[in-house]
Protein backbone atom coordinates (compact mmCIF):
# COMPACT_ATOMS: atom_id res chain seq x y z
CA UNK A 1 0.00 0.00 0.00
CA UNK A 2 1.22 3.50 -0.59
CA UNK A 3 -0.02 7.06 -0.34
CA UNK A 4 -1.10 8.35 -3.73
CA UNK A 5 -2.84 11.65 -3.04
CA UNK A 6 -3.38 14.16 -0.25
CA UNK A 7 -6.04 16.85 -0.52
CA UNK A 8 -6.47 19.68 1.97
CA UNK A 9 -9.17 22.31 2.35
CA UNK A 10 -9.33 24.67 5.32
CA UNK A 11 -6.79 22.62 7.27
CA UNK A 12 -4.44 24.76 9.40
CA UNK A 13 -2.51 27.09 7.04
CA UNK A 14 -4.16 25.65 3.88
CA UNK A 15 -7.38 27.64 3.32
CA UNK A 16 -7.47 26.94 -0.43
CA UNK A 17 -8.14 23.54 -2.00
CA UNK A 18 -4.68 21.98 -2.26
CA UNK A 19 -3.53 18.68 -3.71
CA UNK A 20 -0.26 16.71 -3.51
CA UNK A 21 0.33 13.63 -5.59
CA UNK A 22 2.85 11.14 -4.22
CA UNK A 23 4.83 8.50 -6.08
CA UNK A 24 6.47 5.40 -4.73
CA UNK A 25 10.04 6.27 -3.80
CA UNK A 26 11.27 9.36 -2.01
CA UNK A 27 9.31 12.63 -1.95
CA UNK A 28 10.90 15.62 -0.28
CA UNK A 29 9.03 18.65 1.08
CA UNK A 30 10.94 21.91 1.41
CA UNK A 31 10.28 25.56 2.19
CA UNK A 32 11.06 28.34 4.68
CA UNK A 33 10.32 28.15 8.40
CA UNK A 34 6.63 28.36 9.17
CA UNK A 35 5.42 27.83 5.59
CA UNK A 36 3.34 24.70 6.33
CA UNK A 37 5.52 21.58 5.85
CA UNK A 38 4.81 19.98 9.24
CA UNK A 39 1.17 20.98 8.79
CA UNK A 40 1.12 18.55 5.82
CA UNK A 41 2.36 15.81 8.13
CA UNK A 42 -0.33 16.77 10.67
CA UNK A 43 -2.88 16.50 7.85
CA UNK A 44 -1.82 12.94 7.02
CA UNK A 45 -1.88 11.89 10.66
CA UNK A 46 -5.25 13.48 11.28
CA UNK A 47 -6.63 11.95 8.12
CA UNK A 48 -5.74 8.42 9.22
CA UNK A 49 -7.24 8.90 12.66
CA UNK A 50 -4.87 10.74 15.01
CA UNK A 51 -7.00 12.81 17.38
CA UNK A 52 -4.66 13.77 20.21
CA UNK A 53 -4.29 17.55 20.15
CA UNK A 54 -0.91 17.27 21.87
CA UNK A 55 0.39 15.44 18.80
CA UNK A 56 -1.37 17.85 16.40
CA UNK A 57 0.23 20.80 18.21
CA UNK A 58 -2.95 22.48 19.36
CA UNK A 59 -4.85 22.87 22.59
CA UNK A 60 -8.42 23.05 21.29
CA UNK A 61 -9.84 20.88 18.54
CA UNK A 62 -10.91 23.86 16.42
CA UNK A 63 -7.27 24.93 16.03
CA UNK A 64 -7.20 22.39 13.21
CA UNK A 65 -9.41 24.71 11.12
CA UNK A 66 -7.91 27.64 9.20
CA UNK A 67 -8.06 30.53 11.67
CA UNK A 68 -7.74 33.32 9.14
CA UNK A 69 -4.93 35.80 8.58
CA UNK A 70 -4.60 39.56 8.36
CA UNK A 71 -6.12 39.32 4.86
CA UNK A 72 -8.26 36.14 4.99
CA UNK A 73 -11.32 35.37 7.08
CA UNK A 74 -11.39 32.21 9.21
CA UNK A 75 -13.11 29.19 7.66
CA UNK A 76 -15.83 27.06 9.15
CA UNK A 77 -14.52 23.63 8.26
CA UNK A 78 -11.31 21.66 7.81
CA UNK A 79 -11.28 18.72 5.38
CA UNK A 80 -8.56 16.21 4.59
CA UNK A 81 -8.84 13.50 1.93
CA UNK A 82 -6.16 10.85 1.58
CA UNK A 83 -6.09 8.34 -1.26
CA UNK A 84 -4.14 5.10 -0.91
CA UNK A 85 -3.13 2.70 -3.65
CA UNK A 86 -4.11 -0.67 -2.21
CA UNK A 87 -3.26 -2.99 -5.13
CA UNK A 88 -1.23 -5.19 -2.81
CA UNK A 89 -4.24 -5.46 -0.48
CA UNK A 90 -2.20 -4.55 2.59
CA UNK A 91 -5.57 -3.42 3.83
CA UNK A 92 -7.64 -6.58 3.36
CA UNK A 93 -10.58 -4.88 1.69
CA UNK A 94 -11.80 -5.53 -1.82
CA UNK A 95 -10.72 -2.08 -2.98
CA UNK A 96 -7.67 -1.36 -5.12
CA UNK A 97 -7.96 2.27 -4.06
CA UNK A 98 -8.96 3.51 -0.62
CA UNK A 99 -10.04 7.09 -0.06
CA UNK A 100 -10.37 8.36 3.49
CA UNK A 101 -11.99 11.73 4.21
CA UNK A 102 -12.22 13.51 7.54
CA UNK A 103 -14.02 16.79 8.23
CA UNK A 104 -14.25 18.97 11.30
CA UNK A 105 -16.69 21.87 11.68
CA UNK A 106 -16.33 24.80 14.08
CA UNK A 107 -19.42 23.52 15.87
CA UNK A 108 -17.30 20.56 16.90
CA UNK A 109 -19.13 18.14 14.62
CA UNK A 110 -17.08 15.68 12.61
CA UNK A 111 -17.66 13.63 9.50
CA UNK A 112 -15.77 10.55 8.35
CA UNK A 113 -15.94 8.76 5.01
CA UNK A 114 -14.27 5.71 3.49
CA UNK A 115 -14.62 5.64 -0.31
CA UNK A 116 -17.36 8.27 -0.04
CA UNK A 117 -19.40 6.16 2.40
CA UNK A 118 -20.04 7.81 5.79
CA UNK A 119 -18.53 5.87 8.67
CA UNK A 120 -17.20 6.37 12.18
CA UNK A 121 -13.68 7.38 13.22
CA UNK A 122 -13.31 3.88 14.62
CA UNK A 123 -13.78 2.40 11.15
CA UNK A 124 -10.87 4.44 9.85
CA UNK A 125 -8.46 3.60 12.68
CA UNK A 126 -9.40 -0.08 12.61
CA UNK A 127 -8.79 -0.25 8.87
CA UNK A 128 -5.20 0.83 9.34
CA UNK A 129 -4.67 -1.21 12.48
CA UNK A 130 -2.41 -3.87 11.15
CA UNK A 131 -0.52 -1.78 8.64
CA UNK A 132 1.92 -0.11 11.03
CA UNK A 133 0.13 3.22 10.63
CA UNK A 134 -1.31 3.34 14.12
CA UNK A 135 -1.06 6.77 15.75
CA UNK A 136 2.19 7.03 17.66
CA UNK A 137 3.90 4.16 15.88
CA UNK A 138 7.05 4.49 13.85
CA UNK A 139 5.72 5.65 10.50
CA UNK A 140 6.20 9.31 11.41
CA UNK A 141 9.63 10.20 12.74
CA UNK A 142 10.31 13.72 14.01
CA UNK A 143 13.12 15.36 15.93
CA UNK A 144 11.24 15.22 19.23
CA UNK A 145 11.02 11.44 18.98
CA UNK A 146 14.74 11.05 19.60
CA UNK A 147 14.41 11.96 23.26
CA UNK A 148 11.20 9.97 23.57
CA UNK A 149 12.68 6.77 22.19
CA UNK A 150 15.91 7.04 24.21
CA UNK A 151 14.45 8.35 27.46
CA UNK A 152 14.59 6.54 30.76
CA UNK A 153 10.82 6.29 30.80
CA UNK A 154 10.29 3.10 28.92
CA UNK A 155 6.54 3.19 28.18
CA UNK A 156 6.84 4.99 24.85
CA UNK A 157 9.60 2.67 23.71
CA UNK A 158 7.55 -0.33 24.79
CA UNK A 159 4.57 0.92 22.80
CA UNK A 160 6.66 0.94 19.63
CA UNK A 161 7.78 -2.64 20.22
CA UNK A 162 4.20 -3.72 20.74
CA UNK A 163 3.24 -2.05 17.48
CA UNK A 164 5.94 -4.01 15.68
CA UNK A 165 4.76 -7.28 17.19
Amino acid sequence: MHLSKLQLLGFKSFPEKTELVFNKGISCIVGPNGCGKTNLLDAIRWGIGESRMSVLRGSRLEEIIFAGTRDYKPLGMAEISITFDNHDHAVPSGYDEINVTRRLFRSGESEFLINRTPCRLKDITEMFLDTGLAPGAYSVIEQSMVDVILSDKTEDRRFLFEEAA
Binding site: E19, K24, G25, I29, I44, S139, I141, L150
Partner: protein, 165 residues
Protein backbone atom coordinates in the same frame (compact mmCIF):
# COMPACT_ATOMS: atom_id res chain seq x y z
CA UNK B 1 1.62 -12.56 23.94
CA UNK B 2 4.81 -12.94 25.93
CA UNK B 3 6.26 -15.24 23.28
CA UNK B 4 5.36 -12.82 20.49
CA UNK B 5 6.92 -9.93 22.36
CA UNK B 6 10.19 -11.80 22.97
CA UNK B 7 10.36 -12.88 19.32
CA UNK B 8 9.75 -9.30 18.21
CA UNK B 9 12.43 -8.04 20.59
CA UNK B 10 14.94 -10.56 19.22
CA UNK B 11 14.13 -9.59 15.64
CA UNK B 12 14.45 -5.88 16.43
CA UNK B 13 17.73 -6.51 18.26
CA UNK B 14 19.20 -8.33 15.27
CA UNK B 15 18.23 -5.46 12.97
CA UNK B 16 19.41 -2.86 15.45
CA UNK B 17 22.95 -4.24 15.51
CA UNK B 18 23.13 -4.26 11.71
CA UNK B 19 21.52 -0.87 11.13
CA UNK B 20 23.57 0.79 13.87
CA UNK B 21 26.79 -0.64 12.47
CA UNK B 22 25.94 0.61 9.01
CA UNK B 23 25.02 4.14 10.11
CA UNK B 24 27.94 4.40 12.56
CA UNK B 25 30.44 2.58 10.33
CA UNK B 26 31.13 0.10 13.08
CA UNK B 27 30.65 0.07 16.82
CA UNK B 28 27.98 -2.00 18.52
CA UNK B 29 24.49 -1.69 19.95
CA UNK B 30 22.05 -3.81 21.89
CA UNK B 31 18.57 -3.93 23.36
CA UNK B 32 18.10 -5.73 26.66
CA UNK B 33 15.18 -6.51 28.90
CA UNK B 34 15.43 -5.53 32.53
CA UNK B 35 16.37 -8.61 34.54
CA UNK B 36 14.07 -10.42 36.92
CA UNK B 37 10.92 -8.70 35.70
CA UNK B 38 8.09 -10.06 33.62
CA UNK B 39 8.99 -9.37 29.94
CA UNK B 40 5.60 -7.78 29.39
CA UNK B 41 6.36 -5.19 32.06
CA UNK B 42 10.12 -4.91 31.98
CA UNK B 43 12.10 -1.84 31.08
CA UNK B 44 13.66 -2.04 27.59
CA UNK B 45 17.28 -0.91 27.89
CA UNK B 46 19.13 0.53 24.90
CA UNK B 47 22.92 0.29 24.73
CA UNK B 48 25.01 2.00 22.07
CA UNK B 49 28.76 2.15 21.56
CA UNK B 50 30.18 4.08 18.60
CA UNK B 51 33.30 2.60 17.02
CA UNK B 52 36.44 2.84 19.16
CA UNK B 53 34.62 4.35 22.11
CA UNK B 54 33.86 2.68 25.41
CA UNK B 55 30.29 1.91 26.34
CA UNK B 56 28.96 4.95 28.10
CA UNK B 57 25.40 5.74 29.04
CA UNK B 58 23.06 6.89 26.28
CA UNK B 59 23.02 10.27 28.02
CA UNK B 60 26.72 10.81 27.36
CA UNK B 61 26.38 10.40 23.60
CA UNK B 62 26.41 13.56 21.54
CA UNK B 63 23.28 15.15 20.05
CA UNK B 64 24.01 13.66 16.65
CA UNK B 65 24.94 10.24 18.04
CA UNK B 66 21.68 10.10 19.98
CA UNK B 67 19.67 11.08 16.90
CA UNK B 68 21.39 8.42 14.80
CA UNK B 69 20.88 5.78 17.53
CA UNK B 70 17.18 6.63 17.72
CA UNK B 71 16.92 6.48 13.92
CA UNK B 72 18.65 3.06 13.96
CA UNK B 73 16.16 1.77 16.50
CA UNK B 74 13.15 3.15 14.63
CA UNK B 75 14.39 1.63 11.37
CA UNK B 76 14.94 -1.69 13.17
CA UNK B 77 11.32 -1.73 14.28
CA UNK B 78 10.21 -0.79 10.78
CA UNK B 79 12.22 -3.66 9.27
CA UNK B 80 10.37 -6.17 11.49
CA UNK B 81 6.99 -4.86 10.37
CA UNK B 82 7.27 -2.31 7.57
CA UNK B 83 4.72 0.49 7.47
CA UNK B 84 3.52 1.44 3.96
CA UNK B 85 5.00 4.90 4.23
CA UNK B 86 7.43 6.67 6.51
CA UNK B 87 7.51 10.44 7.05
CA UNK B 88 10.76 11.94 8.35
CA UNK B 89 10.39 15.50 9.64
CA UNK B 90 13.80 17.23 9.73
CA UNK B 91 15.52 14.21 11.34
CA UNK B 92 18.72 15.33 9.59
CA UNK B 93 18.90 18.57 11.61
CA UNK B 94 21.49 17.41 14.21
CA UNK B 95 23.53 15.27 11.78
CA UNK B 96 26.80 16.13 10.05
CA UNK B 97 27.09 15.68 6.28
CA UNK B 98 28.80 12.28 6.48
CA UNK B 99 26.07 10.85 8.71
CA UNK B 100 23.36 12.38 6.50
CA UNK B 101 24.99 10.61 3.57
CA UNK B 102 24.87 7.20 5.25
CA UNK B 103 21.31 7.80 6.40
CA UNK B 104 20.17 8.71 2.87
CA UNK B 105 21.94 5.68 1.37
CA UNK B 106 19.95 3.46 3.72
CA UNK B 107 16.66 5.18 2.93
CA UNK B 108 17.25 4.76 -0.78
CA UNK B 109 17.65 1.03 -0.26
CA UNK B 110 14.44 0.80 1.79
CA UNK B 111 12.56 2.96 -0.72
CA UNK B 112 12.11 -0.01 -3.04
CA UNK B 113 9.55 -1.30 -0.54
CA UNK B 114 8.46 1.77 1.35
CA UNK B 115 7.39 5.21 0.32
CA UNK B 116 9.42 7.91 2.10
CA UNK B 117 8.44 11.51 2.62
CA UNK B 118 11.24 13.70 3.94
CA UNK B 119 10.83 17.23 5.24
CA UNK B 120 14.10 19.11 5.30
CA UNK B 121 16.19 22.29 5.04
CA UNK B 122 19.26 20.25 4.01
CA UNK B 123 20.56 20.24 0.42
CA UNK B 124 21.89 16.67 0.58
CA UNK B 125 18.49 15.34 1.62
CA UNK B 126 16.84 17.32 -1.19
CA UNK B 127 19.24 15.84 -3.73
CA UNK B 128 18.36 12.30 -2.62
CA UNK B 129 14.68 12.77 -3.46
CA UNK B 130 12.91 11.50 -6.57
CA UNK B 131 10.50 14.42 -6.45
CA UNK B 132 10.54 17.72 -4.60
CA UNK B 133 7.58 19.74 -3.36
CA UNK B 134 8.04 23.33 -2.27
CA UNK B 135 5.67 24.86 0.23
CA UNK B 136 5.44 28.63 0.06
CA UNK B 137 3.54 31.44 1.74
CA UNK B 138 3.45 34.08 -0.98
CA UNK B 139 0.53 35.52 0.96
CA UNK B 140 1.41 35.59 4.66
CA UNK B 141 -0.22 32.79 6.61
CA UNK B 142 -1.54 31.03 3.47
CA UNK B 143 0.31 27.89 2.38
CA UNK B 144 0.55 26.80 -1.24
CA UNK B 145 2.34 23.90 -2.87
CA UNK B 146 4.75 24.28 -5.78
CA UNK B 147 6.09 21.19 -7.49
CA UNK B 148 9.81 21.71 -8.02
CA UNK B 149 11.74 19.92 -10.72
CA UNK B 150 15.08 18.86 -9.30
CA UNK B 151 16.82 20.16 -12.39
CA UNK B 152 15.40 23.63 -12.13
CA UNK B 153 17.73 25.01 -9.45
CA UNK B 154 16.47 28.56 -9.93
CA UNK B 155 13.01 27.46 -8.94
CA UNK B 156 14.34 25.66 -5.88
CA UNK B 157 16.24 28.78 -4.85
CA UNK B 158 13.02 30.80 -5.06
CA UNK B 159 11.11 28.41 -2.86
CA UNK B 160 13.90 28.19 -0.29
CA UNK B 161 15.00 31.79 -0.42
CA UNK B 162 11.61 33.14 0.37
CA UNK B 163 12.27 35.18 3.43
CA UNK B 164 11.48 34.61 6.99
CA UNK B 165 9.26 32.68 9.25
Amino acid sequence: AKKLFIETLDAVRTNFKLVFQELFEGGDADILLEEEVDPLEANIIVKARPRGKKILSIQQLSGGERALTAISLLFSLYLVKPSPFCILDEVDAPLDDANIGRFLKMIKRFSDNTQFITITHNKLTMEAADILYGVTMKQPGVSQIVSVNLNRRGELEDVLGEGSA
